[in-house]
């Protein structure tokens, strides 16, 4: 069969007798066509309304994102992703979509030319990242509770009369008033997160420095002039211990006493503020800034300390000129340095034989969290930070600052393969911007369509 044969076959085929047109086909055509047009317009309008409602709902409702509701407490052991997700301005807010218990609290970003900075929490139970909107643009002066459920915030560089407590289960922030205002440095949270140990100073003598924005002036002065206060975050009741000055502190694992660094001396202090016993750590050493007490209660993490004396005043600071980084001492025999862990920043105890540290990974050229054995064995990377250029509009890499860990979750911590980050619903300003863009685009689309239809129809279309 070819073209000609097929054409001949079709033309030669006898024709069926054609039936008459169904009654009303032509007569009902115009009314049917009008109904069709009305139905299409109504459908288009309905779809537009539904799309707007859906878009508005997704963009505006705080619970529009994944896992947006308050997270349930998880009894399982905490897990750390082997890669920490990179910077994203679209990361949602704790107040919009609470992340549940957190493992890390850290500042993240860069500000060489443009300030791109976030305060983030990473969930202990998944790849959930949220911006801590109670402290959006300044780092430090914060503590993540050992159980990872609350964050305590003070204000660096100013006298305060209250501290903020952020509940990561609900996203709510509450204020806890202090018995007196002053320059506050949060030092430690009890294992249950209910008691805050902080140092406080009178800021009058350094008012000029604070007015000029001199960095760390409260922290430095606290090491020589502060007093230790214990604050019950549930009731607001404060206990002025009379112990001072204090530069670092850590709660015992049972929460019944503290170890405190006062100048170049280390003391055990009761919850009533009584000095129980001096811990005779080797000369030149003092407690790490946070989480110094090991989970077993037998060991303390110590680092080299030095005194800066400029005649009229002094300050006690971490001595970075000494190598060897973190050492450990036993409470039974504190004068003997035991383990050694080479890390840039001590974060907490993984066990009595291994600590969690933050150091630069020169192999990958990025920041990393390390498990550092105390027997001098080689540390191993647990998790790396993103090494791509995401900050400052892609001009710089982002770096983590002022990391605080949920120390109580570190024993038994597992490392898992990083999943897709759950950043929650967009921050409100991006949601509003997206809504505006969406509305403008919808309006422009409608106008263009109407213009095309009018042009095509020569102005005659209804």
């Amino acid at each position: 069969m070819n073209d000609q044969q097929l054409a001949a076959l079709l033309s030669a085929a006898p024709r069926d007798p054609e039936p008459p047109l169904p009654p009303g086909l032509l007569e009902g055509l115009v009314p049917a066509a009008r109904r069709d047009i009305r139905r299409r317009r109504a459908t288009a309008a309905l779809c537009t309304v539904v799309a707007l409602l859906l878009g508005t709902g997704v963009l505006l409702l705080p619970t529009g994102g994944r896992d947006a509701g308050p997270a349930e407490p998880s009894p399982s052991a905490a897990a750390l992703p082997d890669e920490v997700a990179g910077y994203s301005p679209l990361t949602g807010l704790v107040s919009d979509a609470p992340p549940g218990r957190a493992l890390l609290l850290y500042g993240y970003g860069n500000s060489e030319t443009l300030r791109t900075y976030q305060t983030l929490v990473l969930s202990a139970d998944g790849d959930v990242y949220r911006q801590l909107d109670a402290r959006p643009d300044r780092s430090g002066s914060w503590l993540l509770a050992p159980d990872g459920r609350t964050v305590v915030l003070s204000t660096p560089g100013a006298a305060v009369a209250e501290v903020q407590v952020v509940e990561l289960q609900t996203g709510q922030t509450r204020q806890v008033r202090l018995p007196r205002a002053g320059g506050v440095v949060p030092l430690a949270l009890s294992p249950d997160g209910n008691t805050l140990a902080y140092s406080i100073i009178d800021t009058e003598p350094i008012a000029g420095d604070l007015a000029m924005g001199v960095g760390n002036v409260i922290e430095q002065r606290s090491t020589e002039h502060s007093e230790l206060v214990l604050l019950d975050l549930r009731t607001g009741q404060a206990t002025a211990t009379g112990v001072g000055p204090v530069a670092a502190a850590a709660f015992a694992p049972d929460g019944q006493r503290l170890v405190v660094q006062s100048r170049l001396q280390t003391w055990l202090v009761g919850l009533d503020g009584s000095r129980q016993q001096e811990v005779m750590v080797p000369q030149g050493y003092g407690l790490t800034m946070h989480n110094a007490w090991s989970p077993s209660g037998r060991l303390l993490a110590v680092v080299p300390w030095a005194v800066e004396d400029w005649g009229t005043d002094r300050a006690y600071v971490r001595d970075y000129s000494k190598q060897g980084a973190v050492r450990t001492v036993s409470l039974d025999e504190p004068s003997v340095l035991r383990g050694t862990a080479d890390t840039e920043t001590f974060l907490g105890w993984l066990s009595d034989t291994e600590i969690l540290g933050q150091s630069w990974d020169y192999g990958s050229d990025t920041g990393a969290l390390w498990a550092v054995p105390l027997d001098g064995a080689a540390p191993r990377v647990l998790s790396r930070f993103d090494d791509s250029y995401r900050c400052e509009l892609g001009m710089q890499r982002c770096v983590p600052w002022e990391m605080s860990v949920a120390a109580g979750l570190l024993p038994g911590l597992s490392v898992r393969e990083a999943g897709s980050p759950d950043r929650g619903p967009w921050p409100p300003r991006f949601r509003y911007a997206a809504l505006v863009v969406f509305t403008v685009l919808a309006g422009v689309g409608w106008l263009v369509r109407r213009r095309i239809r009018r042009r095509a129809g020569g102005g005659g279309a209804r």
Binding site: Q5, L6, S11, L21, V30, A33, G460, R462
Partner: protein
């Protein structure tokens, strides 16, 4: 639509409805469905009448609407499951004229909708490749390849017509 445009549309529909219905029947092989196709195409024409009436060849537009309506309906879930025709026998038996026609229509019904549209437009409606391509909204190359596939399929479906019946 203005009253004068509506009047022009009505007059055009009255003048062309039988031709359109015939083409629709050739496409679908069923008079009832041909009525539905014709009505759907004319309703579509009403929506675009202002543009179509200003065109050089409104008939080409309308044919295109008709073919597109036919192809759209053939792509629906329902059309793919409910065939409006009885299944044709595997090997048609040529006999009388009526039987020949039934065989031909049955064979056409077994073609894919696009191939059937190509055959109807080219060999029944007498369009050339370019016209067929414009009507179907595809390239001439596609029309040629679809024609080739359709003829090969008809050759298998109508083995007794090969050579000696044309």
């Amino acid at each position: 639509m203005r009253a004068d445009e509506e009047q022009a549309f009505t007059e055009y529909a009255q003048a062309r409805v039988l031709d359109l219905r015939r083409t629709a029947y050739r496409l679908c092989g069923d008079w009832d469905e041909a009525h539905d196709l014709t009505q759907a195409a004319l309703i579509r024409l009403y929506r675009h009448w202002a543009r179509v009436s200003a065109a050089d060849s409104p008939d080409a537009y309308v044919r295109r609407m008709l073919v597109n309506t036919f192809l759209d309906q053939r792509q629906t879930w329902w059309a793919r499951r409910v065939r409006p025709f009885p299944e044709p026998p595997d090997v048609p038996t040529p006999a009388e004229d009526v039987a020949d026609r039934l065989d031909l229509m049955a064979a056409l019904a077994r073609l894919a909708p696009g191939q059937r549209a190509v055959i109807v437009l080219r060999y029944w409606e007498g369009m050339d490749v370019a016209e067929t391509a414009r009507t179907l909204g595809c390239s001439p190359g596609t029309v040629k390849s679809q024609t080739s596939h359709a003829i090969a399929a008809l050759r298998r479906l109508l083995p007794n017509y090969v050579g000696d019946r044309a």
